[in-house]
């Protein structure tokens, strides 16, 4: 219960921070892609480089990625269907045969149905997802944050900042 409370408090802390909405949305999108694609040594380091290079918030990314990593394996069956649909396309077979000869690309496991499905889903959904996060965060900061700041609950959580220290979590 205390962990959930601290988790909510942390979330609110990030959302209410001075970080721009764009950066938070971008970090959340990268975190989603990072969590959705099964780990490989090509894409995941690239995603981290992208995050840092494009000025993403590493703290938000590090906070949200483990949570998403717990959730995303539940949709692997659906992602596999997408990947299977792509990899079994007869018209794309010559292209895949050529792709298989490209050095280093094998490490990205693109020929795996789950990974290919995850790439496809990530490519298709990353831009809408970014704007979806952006929209939600804008709504939150415009309408919810002011009300939240005046709420008794918010003040109470602020007053309990010593609790995090007491529990050994900063």
């Amino acid at each position: 219960m205390i962990t959930i409370f601290l988790f909510i408090k942390k979330c609110l802390g990030y959302l209410n921070s001075n970080e721009s909405i764009e950066n938070i949305s971008y970090s959340l999108t990268i975190a989603f892609v990072f969590a959705l694609i099964p780990f490989n040594i090509i894409i995941h380091p690239l995603l981290v480089i992208f995050l840092v290079a494009l000025n993403g918030n590493a703290l938000i990314f590090l906070f949200i990625t483990p949570i998403l990593s717990i959730i995303t394996p539940n949709v692997y069956q659906e992602v596999h269907l997408v990947g299977d649909l792509i990899l079994s396309q007869p018209s794309a077979q010559p292209f895949f045969y050529k792709l298989a000869t490209v050095p280093l690309l094998g490490f990205s496991s693109w020929n795996n149905t789950v990974t290919m499905g995850a790439y496809a889903v990530s490519l298709i959904s990353c831009v809408p997802l970014y704007f979806f996060y952006f929209f939600l965060l804008t709504l939150y900061r415009r309408h919810v944050l002011s009300k939240l700041k005046n709420s008794r609950m918010f003040k109470w959580t602020k007053s309990l900042s010593w609790m995090t220290y007491f529990l050994g979590k900063k």
Binding site: I49, Q77, H80, G83, F96, L99, P103, N111, T113, V114
Partner: protein, 577 residues
Amino acid sequence: MKYFIKFILIFLVCCIPTWVIFDDVIIKSVIIQLTQKATKKKTNLASVKITYFPELSLTLNDFQCPNPMQQNYVLSAKKLRISIDASALLHQSLVINDIVSMDAIFFDTSSPVYPIKNTVQESSEEPKKTMSIPIKKLVDSAMPVISNSSFANDMKDAVDFSKETDDINAIISSAEDQILSNKNQVLKSLNNSFFELNGLNVSNVSSLDDIRDIQKKLTTLYEYLNQISNKIDDTSLIYKSAQSDIQAVHNEAKEKITSSLSSSILNQSTDNDASISTTLVKNTFDFLIQKFSPKQKKQLRPQFKGTTYRFQTNQPPKFMIRRLTINSPESNQHINGKNIGFGPNITDKMNLLIQFLNQPSYASFLTTVTSDNSKQYAIQSTLKGGRIAQRKLFENDDIRLNFLENKSVSLNILGQISKRSDISALVDIIQPEYRVINKSTNKNAIAGIVPFLNHQDLTFKLDFKGNLSAYEIEASSNLDELVKRVQTAFINKQMSAFKKEQDKIQNEMQLTFIRQTKDSEASFDKRYKKDMNQMTKQKSELTNKLDEITNELNDKKESFKNNIKSELKQSLKTFGF
């Protein structure tokens, strides 16, 4: 975008020199970590030298890879050079062009091996399986356990004499009742007879009528006496009949003891028809497979992995060593190989030669593995002068059975390894010796059998078909024949000793039974003799008394006769005759 490119460039400029400077330290650490994880023992590696041009190669200096099974280093090399095909690495393949070491030592014991202390405790739920378990099962099944002492104790407890004791008690009781009844009748008759007899007074006899009366009474008394004598004889017959019945029960008990002993021997000598060699080989093989098969990690929730498509027709092999040279062909330990690899897409012919000579564990070991298609590997292996160190074969509370050191083991393996392997192995152990160490004073059958096994050559033949997850084993050996021969010889010897023991046990049991019925039988005898004495004594008294009265009566009769005669003569004289 400009910022992004700048970042990537800075990243690369920082990373590449860092890697080039610290590559040997990183690779050394990786090699040590991986080897230690696999062997659970400390790996020694002094330094690693990496060259990138003209080819990617690693040179390991003072490398010692520990043996996970024994206290030695599987490979100890001052310098080991590994050159790798860098282009294959880009295609997720590890193709090693060359492994060369000219000063390598296999199974090196020159320096001590240190185990790594694991912080994570391995689960101790499963019992630790050792080689002695299949051997113990074999010994248990092969040895006919005829232990005289334990057998005798078991037998003594097993035979129950309560029925026989009850039978004897019933016979005695019935006989005693009959004897008592006879005795009462006899005593009553005797009393009556004595009473009658005391009433007879021969001195008062004054007439012939008196004599006739007494004569009549005496006749009756003699009849009584005959009846008494018959009763006494009848009592004697009852006693004799009871004695013969008791003897019959004793014989029954004896028969029971003998039959119990015989059936126990039969039960002990007729068991286990299963082939010992098959059992031994199967047990040993199962043990080895369980021990060396990779343990699957338990996953709480198995993650869905999807399907991996194969698009590359000329995919390089996942792992391959193009050339392997360890030491020169003249040295005692030499390995030479070409195109060693597993899996598809290996087109070159594979050759592997392993040659170890004059080793502490054997005189020579030669193995060749060849393959044309990397799917089927033909294997031919020969080991000569193999040494089996002294080892414990079997141990229980009474004995310990040791296999003494043997240096004449030969091994021949021939066959092909594939998804459906077919391998034939032949092991000969020439003139093996065993020693039994007695731990207690109890006699044990194994101690008696082992001298028959000494210097009997052992031959095992094993045909393996299948793979490690599903295999068929056909094993044959001279072990069955040998054990049967030894069993026969041992049982013959044991049986003569056992016969003596059986007689002894039989006597002891007989005595036990006799002891149980001795008191009742003795008291029965005593009572019978007392009663018989009493009856016979009184009968003889009666007889004497009767005889005495009869004599007196006869005298009286005689005197009467004389008196009558004299009176008759006088009367006749008076009448003038």
